[in-house]
């Protein structure tokens, strides 16, 4: 079984994010990390590939920098990676991103495509669905549990107040929530092996995809700030301040 996992590199969330003047695009340093959201997809892909004699290919679009985030996913155990990088893709909208990823996935071939439900830095939350439409497959979205057998895939699809059991035939696109599996930490051997794994770099011309975006960020403004409130150090009586405020707001 051929599993393709979409993974995104993002600026380290522990660092403050900044926007580039003029374009308002997120500044992307050389050093980026694997989006935590995608560690779940990688782990799911590895487990399914292992149970079904499969391989895992990573597909990632964006400024690659030193590709450290991709190496993180390879170190977990993925077999190889495709990176699509092209100056024309800076500031790409969801439609363009999905076109590019779909073209790379088609070129690679697939039985199953796995993505996260929303990325940490972009959170458009529509890429997996768009991929499915490009690829002409069902999209089993928001999976919190996945089972595969006999060419069928069944998931527990998260809903607002519970979950639905949803099933379809392969090939298919899955989007997985955090908590679908517990992602493994790379071993020392995994990290060493990752250095030797194939990483292929592609451009737009290699894929023959046209960009389409007419979406622009025109301005950034400060949101009205909430007036800073009162801070009370607990000396054993601070709960009374809460009781008093609840009374004042007439909720008790």
């Amino acid at each position: 079984m051929k599993v393709v996992v979409c993974v995104k590199q993002i600026p380290d969330p522990a660092t403050p994010y900044t926007l580039e003047p003029g374009t308002h695009w997120l500044t992307r340093p050389e050093d980026q990390v694997l989006d935590d959201t995608d560690r779940y997809g990688v782990e799911m892909g590895l487990q399914l590939a292992q149970a079904n004699e499969g391989t895992v290919t990573l597909v990632s679009m964006g400024p690659a920098g030193n590709a450290q985030g991709i190496r993180q996913a390879l170190a977990m155990g993925a077999d190889k990676a495709l990176i699509i990088e092209d100056g024309e893709l800076r500031g790409a909208d969801a439609l363009t991103t999905s076109r590019v990823l779909a073209a790379a996935i088609e070129r690679e071939g697939f039985d199953l495509v796995i993505a996260g439900t929303e990325s940490t830095d972009g959170y458009s939350g529509v890429i997996p669905q768009m991929l499915a439409e490009h690829l002409g497959t069902p999209a089993l979205t928001y999976a919190k549990n996945v089972d595969i057998g006999d060419g069928k895939v069944t998931i527990d699809r998260q809903t607002d107040d519970g979950y639905d059991v949803v099933a379809t035939d392969l090939p298919a696109v899955l989007s997985v929530t955090a908590g679908v599996v517990e992602p493994r930490y790379p071993t020392f051997k995994g990290i060493m092996d990752a250095k030797k794994k194939p990483v292929e770099h592609l451009t737009l011309a290699d894929l023959g995809v046209e960009t389409s975006s007419d979406q622009k960020v025109t301005s950034i403004t400060e949101a009205p700030e909430r007036a800073a409130g009162r801070k009370v150090e607990d000396d054993g009586e601070a709960y009374q301040a809460i009781v008093a405020l609840l009374e004042e707001r007439k909720v008790i």
Binding site: A94, P138, R226, G229, K231
Partner: protein, 315 residues
């Protein structure tokens, strides 16, 4: 007149609250068609009319996962009727349908918008970024514009419109194997709905253990509040996802929000920072939650919460 379509999912035999919020905005922009997904009924359609829809396209997907067939049917309709704007909520099925529809129509999707305006040049949308501390305004010029709006961006209010005309939207075969919903599970819960509650008490990792979440439930019950949670403790399996507040959970706008052992990460703040009054208990005086709190208690939840509960019980 500008034509605006609104996607609305059925919940408990009627339009979802999110759908009604979108209608409230849509009717200020143009003539409104509701695309209604669900079993449908005269009462449900009448409710759409009361909230400003003049016509309804009704689709029932039965046990098919709706997004594929619905996007196919909508793409054909949109090509014929050319609405200028199509509003969706930032919600699961909405995202599935809008994403597929965008690909079919060859247009982008503007996600996570908190407001939308039609302009001479096209459409303009506002998006809260960096935990809601800044607002990015985006524009797009080639329609139809597909915009996903965050819940609670507009208040749902009836305007007393007439019953709308209703047309059935047939859902075609999509040509690839379809996904079917085999069974549905609804998690039982007590008290008010998290999304609609006037008071919300939420707990985070600072509670330290799943057992300590009982204190949150207890306080919520005493106040007639709904109980909520951060993603950290949902992922840890302490509470079901239905309780998650934030970017990937529920957006809440209660009169009072009490945050217990919650750091106040960006993704949590966007889901609750518009509450009327925010009270936070956290032992770290520098926790970001204090930057939005009207009252911040720097203290240990295991001390403050039991005292608070006892004081309320003794009233």
């Amino acid at each position: 007149m500008v034509s605006v379509w609104v996607f609305i999912e059925e919940v408990d035999a009627g339009p979802s609250v999110l759908g009604l919020e979108l209608l409230a905005k849509a009717r200020t922009l143009g003539n409104v068609t509701a695309v209604y997904l669900g079993t449908g009924s005269d009462e449900a359609f009448a409710a759409l009319g009361e909230h400003g829809a003049s016509s309804v396209l009704h689709a029932d997907a039965g046990d098919r996962l709706p997004s594929g067939p619905l996007a196919a049917a909508l793409a054909d309709r949109v090509a014929v009727e050319s609405p200028e704007l199509f509003l969706f909520g930032q919600a699961y099925t909405d995202r599935d349908v809008a994403g597929r529809l965008g690909v079919r129509l060859g247009v982008g999707v503007l996600s996570n918008a908190s407001d939308v305006r039609l302009t001479d040049a096209g459409v303009e949308t506002d998006h809260e970024i960096f935990g809601g501390s800044q607002v990015a305004t985006a524009s797009s010029s080639s329609g139809p514009f597909l915009v996903l709006i965050r819940p609670k961006s507009f208040p749902a209010e009836p305007v007393g419109g007439d019953a709308p005309s209703v047309v059935t939207l047939e859902l075609p075969d999509v040509g690839y194997s379809e996904a079917t919903v085999v069974e549905s599970h609804v998690e039982e819960h007590e008290g008010p709905q998290l999304g609609e509650a006037a008071i919300v008490v939420s707990g985070g990792r600072g509670l330290g253990s799943i057992e300590a979440y009982d204190l949150v439930e207890k306080l919520a019950k005493l106040l007639g509040a709904a109980s909520g949670a951060t993603r950290a403790i949902v992922d840890a399996g302490w509470v079901p996802y239905a309780k998650q507040v934030g970017q990937t959970g529920k957006t809440v706008k209660p009169d009072v929000y009490i945050a217990v052992g919650i750091s106040g990460a960006m993704q949590h703040l966007v889901g609750m920072k518009d509450a009327g009054t925010i009270i936070a208990i956290n032992k770290d005086p520098d926790a970001p939650i204090f930057s939005v709190a009207d009252l911040g208690i720097v203290g240990d939840v295991h001390k403050v919460l039991p005292q608070l509960i006892e004081a309320l019980e003794n009233r």
